[in-house]
Symmetry: D2
Subunit: 364 residues, 4 copies
């Protein structure tokens, strides 16, 4: 379905970096879900470049909700969110159009779209498009929170530096919720930012790993085969630009475990089944088991760097060199966090609506 995702609650996104507006359409949301524009704005702020470690391009993200919301509540029909692009400098890009930026989609877009792609600023491939996802995700995220389901993501690793581990998961999620640079240990966060600035001063960029926890998700949701929670989540996580790996629970660490270490022993805690470890990340056989769901995404280094790079001129079909100028992020991992939270919220809302019906997220 290309730019539409979901079965029962669907999300459609559109727009280009330098087009007129970007946005999203959300369809199938439970009627009556609160749509809080201030909250949406606060989540968009987390995605926006800010501080020393981000691009100088700052959009105000003055979104408008033009359908599907009436008196502050979802009507149940499509919610359309529009975000105008205001701060576009197309001239920066047109100069170098013919030269593919390595690590970007310039060349692949050119082949796929037969030369008709909007190449300005990466067009539809720009991270800018994720603003629509964040706005949509903010609505989903707050609806989930009212059902006791919380999502939190931290930078687990960046530029070779590790954040602390989650100890009290619920509390960790709360701490992270509004942080611009989402780490559990601020001292480590400072070091990460230093390392990012060091890369920036070299005209270079860094990547990292985001770790996401979901608490309060009920057991018995998901499907055994093609629509396992892992399948659904990874589908949308890999649609976030720069994500190149996703692992659930112990993930690639399973390779070096034995079954006796990897299996999570089970116990009743009162009426509730829990596991004593959670290597499976809250999911068995594609279905939630009631424990926290957690996963990690790797974010590759921002491909836009200022160093000279070998590349191709795919218009003139010859080799060339590229030295980018303009506005670029030396790291996007801190900004990608809210996008990961948002797509997670979207897919979980879809799954829960499929499992429990269209009124699952009803509010008074």
């Amino acid at each position: 379905m290309k730019n539409t995702f979901g079965n029962n609650v669907t999300f459609t996104i559109f727009g280009e970096s330098h087009g007129e507006e970007i946005g999203a359409v959300i369809d199938g949301m439970t009627p009556g879900v609160t749509v809080d524009e201030e909250y949406i704005a606060s989540r968009l702020a987390l995605r926006r470049p800010s501080g020393r470690i981000s691009t100088a391009r700052v959009e105000e993200d003055k979104f408008r909700i033009v359908s599907g919301v009436f008196n502050g509540r979802a009507t149940g029909t499509p919610i359309t969110i529009l975000i105008p692009n205001t701060n576009t400098k197309s001239g920066d890009y047109a100069r170098t159009r013919a030269l593919a930026r390595p690590g970007h989609a310039d060349y692949t877009a050119h082949v796929k779209y037969n030369g008709f792609e909007d190449y300005r600023g990466g067009g539809h491939f720009s991270g800018r498009i994720t603003a629509g996802i964040v706005a949509a995700g903010a609505i989903a995220e707050s609806a989930l929170a009212k059902k006791g389901i919380k999502i939190g993501t931290h930078i687990k690793r960046c530029a070779g530096i590790d954040d602390a581990q989650f100890t009290d998961i619920e509390k960790g999620i709360d701490i992270l919720h509004d942080k611009m640079f989402p780490v559990l240990d601020d001292a480590m966060g400072e070091k990460m930012q230093e390392a990012i600035l060091a890369a920036a001063s070299d005209g270079d960029s860094v990547g990292g790993i985001l770790e996401t926890y979901v608490t309060g998700f009920p057991a018995g949701v998901g499907e055994p085969m093609f629509d396992s929670i892992e399948s659904e989540l990874s589908h949308i996580l890999f649609s976030v630009p720069a994500v190149k790996g996703v692992e659930f629970g112990a993930g690639f660490g399973f390779a070096d475990l034995r079954g006796s270490e990897a299996n999570d022993p089970m116990r009743y805690e009162g009426d509730k089944v829990v596991t004593l470890t959670n290597n499976n990340g809250g999911i068995n056989g594609g279905i939630s088991n009631g424990m926290p769901i957690y996963f990690k995404c790797v974010i590759k280094p921002t491909p836009s760097i200022f160093k000279k790079q070998e590349t191709v001129d795919f218009i003139n079909k010859e080799n060339g060199e590229l030295e980018l100028q303009g506005r670029h992020d030396p790291a996007i991992i801190h900004r990608a966090r809210i996008v990961i939270d948002s797509v997670t919220a979207m897919v979980l809302m879809d799954m829960l609506t499929g499992r429990y019906g269209a009124d699952y997220f009803a509010e008074d």
Copy 2:
């Protein structure tokens, strides 16, 4: 869509470990595609337990194709493949029904299906179901091969032991194609098997990492956002039982690279654009760039072990202990290989059919 996957070519799977038949329905395949039953049988053989390191349960996998094939060719209407279950010993499982096997889906299935699940041998959650996938995938794989697209997977790591790296990728794929224990370096393969047997003698099991290469895939296929190649592939890879992590190209290694190392410099080689490195695994912005596509999947250790495990009795709602008996694999990674190849073939066939139309795989 639960047990149906795909947009233009769809795959539906069904069956339970101890049910009457398992199987698959493939819809939308180009009319005229050769369906070679001997080839299918040879691929099913790779999935079947064999040798010292597998369960003693051996099914003959005497499949029947009951629709969609006429005179050895796909008609274009649904191809249905049936594989009877013959060697079932339900008694083994009924004894311990109430006790959830840690790491398995017994408990989550019970919650999801309200107690109506077919619990015998893991029911629909059994790896047995993947036989239908392999049969379907074999048809897709040979159709892809006729278009010059090849898929090969090796055990990159198992029980702490690493296989050699791919050097000549095409050649490596050919070497691996019919190997029962798919490694590039047989000496390492021997060591892995020793380690598996060592785990087995402890009543334990091991996991590992599979690495898959796809060559010959044309540039310009895939979608920018929700249907990126990574999204589509990961969706179906995570539907393979035991897969808990997927990474493309440098994957989680990107976390420690700088952009200048991670970006793949581009060059014309004659008319063809190539990259000098391939950290992006043949995919930029979700779209193929013409370089080999490669990815890794982690396979968790087989959860069925013979050691005593703490668990819950979810019928009587009390804690208990489980000591499994019967037939189990100390490792499934070598058998999972052909399942990974198969789902890869299925999703690539679907994508190519969407991109180039229903006749893309036409044969004379």
Copy 3:
């Protein structure tokens, strides 16, 4: 999705007239739904040719359910129903392969499938395929009945003769439920059958109109635009071979009504909203209003006739004449009835599951 239909409960069908087996896969049914093989057999009997007015080809329809049912209940995973083809006489058809039967899909299948179609007996286009639909629909129909939702269809018109109108709808549905020739007025039914035989003796065939009523369907189900009840129902009704028109409520009669006649005045009857007329067929804006849903389908005359017909030889690309021999129905309308009931049950089950969640059809 070609041969798969549905969003939350999906139905996949497969098979050819002279292939080995035909069948259906149903996915997403509420776990615990009763699967009564005798009831399925009784519904298949209604589809089977019988009596003076049908083809002499009679299949026993000895179906097998090979997955998804355990102890007589749906498990929630895919239910696969297989029906072997036993009474095939391919020789009858191979003779005339090159000559397109007018009104059939021989020529269109040949163009679409590039000559690889299974042409024996109409292949996948044969009415035979609907046996799988009926078996699947029987499960859905009985699950709906347990929720108080009943479906009934009569032959409203056949060969120029009209059946009586429904008076007491519930009672009419009950009367029709097991009738082989489903009319409300048996005297009219006799006349229809005489007319069918008269056509048969001319080597000709007749068509007619089926009218279907659904009672007990809750208000507030359906979608405003692309997934209106009319859209969903018509989609699957038009997939039944020979259906060439579908109308809801007053249908084409609306053309000659004024708004004041067409609008259905509304009234509270106790707590329940009813309409004094039901021209809208129980649906407003694509959504159910709690009144009976009703619609009509026209069934075109069986295209297989014994009269000489002008046609083309699409292999030798020349004009020709066709004089069919073998076994054919002079009317299929009485047999099509149960197919219409079945697809109606399937789509309503899907809609209700989407609206109220996966457990909507739970039974004790």
Copy 4:
């Protein structure tokens, strides 16, 4: 998928009668397709109320295309069209909110959306929403025309008056293309308009039948069962507000034909297979046969009338009477025409793209 339709080219629509903006998102269109804003405007003009026989509410339909078009060409990524609502008089409707308008979706929307529906002017159920469909359809329609595929619709019957029949179909389509009141015989059109005005002067409304022809559509497109051309077309035709019946070819007339009359004899005309009659409306077995595709839709009388009507007050749960005031159309059939053309263009574009691939509509 609720408000998203299509498999390879998808259409998403959104908006409410009195919301801020309505619109559509089109995804998957061949890159390079010309997007001619003047042409879109000219098609929107056909939908807009005009002349003596329409509502006094006239929107300018000043649309904006905010994504997916670059230098006048489709980029291949989502095209978003926005149309602001400017001329809204919500006060007219709020007065009577609690009183369901018979024949409208007020009551069903209230039940479905649990009271959170945007009730102003019918909200998402308003015919206003079809402006987005027309804008999207205009792009599809002109792309089809460049492939030699033309679509034309006339008012076959209105208020008891019949238009002339199509004689030369191609020529008829051309004549109808820009007519505000689309009839083949203008004298009959005058009579229809008189009859509409007569109904209007009674405070009443009328319905009618639209007949649509498609020429130039290639043979071999469509699917045998659930995605037959009839299934796909009817799905989207029934999503057009007020459509309550759809028939293909001879349609309900088949009920009174014998097979020998209904079957269309076939002949080679040069290299091309034609049928001597076209009772099957260009479709056999769900697949196009190369003859013109044609179908009829019945449009029910506009439910908004000025006569006093019995109804319910679903807020206070009591019976009431309704006397509408404000702006209403005594007929919408002439305006519905372009909506029918548009959805037809949309679904045919989707089908052709699935059959022949993503580049089917490529232009220089």
